[in-house]
């Protein structure tokens, strides 16, 4: 089971991992990914817009896909939306498994697909008053495609 949550408030990564680990006795490996707003010079804030009717359903579909690929692995994904300040966490993927390779692979897979399939858009506000929409990276699409069956 991999749970998905969408929220504006911050998350407590350590508490999320502790809750996950307490669920089973056979977990020897826990992996956690945290995505952060970079504290680039002059960046005032990052606002995440999303598609309310689709976002959580898409996150849950990605989570179910990961759970099917790595059935021994459990996890939680949390994605924030709204206005975030430099250094704040945006996204958390936390996984736990009896097998280290599975915990790593599931976390990596989940991030690659959140980057390319979850309907969020980032807009940067800069100190000079300008703002711009962040462009999608080709590398993210390539990272996601590696998980497709040949």
């Amino acid at each position: 089971m991999i749970a998905a949550r969408l929220q504006t408030e911050p998350f407590d990564a350590a508490a999320e991992q502790a809750a996950l680990i307490s669920a089973r006795t056979d977990l020897g490996a826990a992996v956690q990914f945290t995505g952060l707003v970079r504290a680039d010079d002059g960046l005032v804030a990052l606002t995440l817009e999303h598609y309310p009717a689709m976002t959580l359903a898409q996150m849950q579909a990605i989570a179910a896909d990961a759970a099917a690929r790595w059935p021994d692995t459990i996890g939680t994904i949390i994605h924030r939306h709204g206005r975030l300040l430099p250094g704040e966490p945006i996204v958390l993927v936390t996984t736990a498994s009896p097998h280290r390779a599975h915990a790593f692979a599931a976390a990596s897979f989940l991030m690659d697909w959140l980057k390319t399939k979850a309907p969020f858009w980032k807009r940067e506000e800069w100190a000079d008053g300008s703002s711009r929409w962040v462009e999608a990276k080709t590398s993210d699409n390539h990272a996601a495609e590696q998980w497709l069956a040949p």
């Binding site: 689709m54 959140l114 858009w121 929409w133 999608a136």
Partner: protein, 84 residues
């Protein structure tokens, strides 16, 4: 009637969060929908000018230019996603 919803710079360039329209009967694919939408205003035309930067979801499922439209209730049009 179908509700079109727009996000990010597509929303800003079109100048609306959403619009509810009757689609002409001959529009049967995502690509045809975008072609027709682009004629509705200069803002629509500008937003949809570079189709390589346009993504579409039909009733909350990602679609491609050749996806048949059927009778959707909601079609979302937006740039490539940048979450995570």
């Amino acid at each position: 009637m179908v509700t079109l919803v727009y996000f990010a710079w597509v929303r800003e360039m079109i100048g609306a969060d959403s619009e509810t329209l009757a689609l002409p009967a001959e529009i049967s694919t995502v690509a045809a929908l975008l072609d027709w939408l682009a004629t509705r205003s200069p803002g629509h035309a500008a937003a949809l000018a570079d189709r390589s930067c346009i993504r579409v979801a039909v009733d909350q499922d990602f679609a491609t230019p050749t996806t048949p439209l059927g009778n959707p209730r909601e079609i979302a049009i937006f740039p490539p996603v940048t979450g995570g």
